[in-house]
Amino acid sequence: MPYGPHAADDRAQMLEAIGISSVDALFEDIPEPLRASPLRLDEPEPELELSARLAALAARNRVDLASFLGAGAYRHWTPATVDQMLLRGEWYTAYTPYQPEVSQGTLQSIYEYQSLLAELTALDVVSASHYDGGAATAEAALMTCRATRRERVLVSRGVHPHYRQTLETYAEGAGLVADEIPLVADGPLAGTTDLAALERMLADPDRRVAGVVAAQPNVLGLLEDMPEIGRLGHAAGALFVSVIEPVSLAVLAPPGEYGADIAAGEGQPLGIPLSYGGPYLGIVACTDALVRQIPGRLVGLTSDLDGRRAFVMTLRAREQDIRREKAASNICTNQALLALAASIYVATIGPHGLRDVAALGAARAAELEAALAAAGAPRAHDGPYLNEFVVRVPDAPVLHARLLDRGVLAGIPTAALLPDEPSLADGLLVCATEVTTAADIDRFASALRLELAGAATGGVR
């Protein structure tokens, strides 16, 4: 065993102390007919060979392309402080701080994370227990149902489809209904949540709504009229869940300011690597009024017997290990290490740095928009966006594949991401951040110009 500690006669000494001759005696309680067939696995791999295997697998992934991928996971520059700190064993080889006297590091870091995110979202209570944006959104929707004792939530189709699908899975289990609010199909508001439809759906007296869920920016990158969505929801007695992207909160109005009761979202942009989708950090924040409904661990400030300030997990009796079948959620995790990464990221770049990251992304996106439009791919929508938008191109999936051959990850074909939106059959959702370079944009625009020229002479089809 590669990490085993035993010297030659240690096992013999333990066996002798227990009074048995073989470790097999300790497994005799497994009934004979149920004992395992031999494990068919490869031989143990020495670390030298294993590291080569892992490096070879990693090298099969292409991470050298000019990438314009976004849609819920974003490329950002991460200061070196984040990983240097994360590699300290005191952080990553500890567990849930059940013993506060020897866990003040983790406890204070979670409290600080709660505080930083409360500040960014302008809400009161933040839980660091959530897996990712999808699961966080689902838990937020369930919170609205518990708080209002209603069983129906309305989810804008502007919310990331993975989040909607996750919410659908959770709602199905809990016996709740999730109905989708359509997007405006054309005109100046195209691509944003259809407020008239929302108003009609909220008006049904027999199917009262617990919560309205909308995203800012939405999955198409567009900015929604969040104050109005919240107002409509509240007028019908529903709670309002805002699905947010945390970096954007440095420059966009925070959920607490426009009346959101809950913010949910994906914390990955705050210094967490893309890693093909995880591990990520689900953000859930809410008003004080909903503190009893928020699932997961919460850390509070208190004092020790000598009156020294200290931190402790609190409101524990809400949780599954105490409340069992009556718990608000089965969540046991806290994503402490990722919450720590987010905190170190924010602490290192500071409020102005975070604002600059968001603003640079917006500036690069505007350059990208101009370059793509000049190359023949105009924006598909008129409304304002921050750093992600849809362009119209002919035969998007085929074009996307051809651009890949030219070394460009040309965003995501909207037909693949949102197959149920016929108005988006010929789009690419593209994104720029502070790491997008002018050279990347040139490469994309040039490749696009060549492909579209080819298409004009029958090349693409």
């Binding site: 409101l315 524990r316 009796a317 809400r318 105490i322 409340r323 009556k326």
Partner: protein
């Protein structure tokens, strides 16, 4: 120790009846067993509750316990002071620590409850 003018459930709730109004709380014994009470979840006014059904939850730092209605009735009021001062359940369980008031629907149900002597015996047995 156990007030003589109340009736009790085996789950350690007490009820005081005044006309058709029943006031309900938990006993000192229950509060001591739970330890420091930190939160009491109570029903909305207007809700009807059946005898021995759960009507709320009481939480201490590391335990949680359901609350059972000693009698059936409609909730006419709850003790709002407990939201800010849940410790009243520990310090004054039969007074300021009361939990709900019910409009009594069937006075005969009181006969199904323990009298002070029987309750005292119950807690003596642990």
């Amino acid at each position: 120790m156990v007030p003589g003018d109340l009736r009790y459930t085996k789950e350690h709730e007490w009820v005081r009846v005044d006309g058709d109004e029943a006031t309900v709380g938990i006993t000192q014994y229950a509060a001591d067993q739970l330890g420091d009470i930190v939160f009491v979840e109570l029903p909305d006014a207007g809700r009807s509750i059946d005898q021995f059904a759960t009507f709320g939850v009481v939480e201490s730092v590391k335990a949680v316990s359901d609350l059972f209605a000693p009698v059936s009735g409609e909730v006419t009021g709850t003790n709002d002071a407990l939201a800010g001062e849940p410790e009243l359940v520990n310090t004054d369980p039969y007074g300021g620590g009361w939990m709900v008031k019910l409009r009594l629907t069937d006075a005969a149900q009181l006969d199904e409850l323990l009298d002070p002597g029987a309750y005292e015996q119950l807690i003596a047995e642990g």
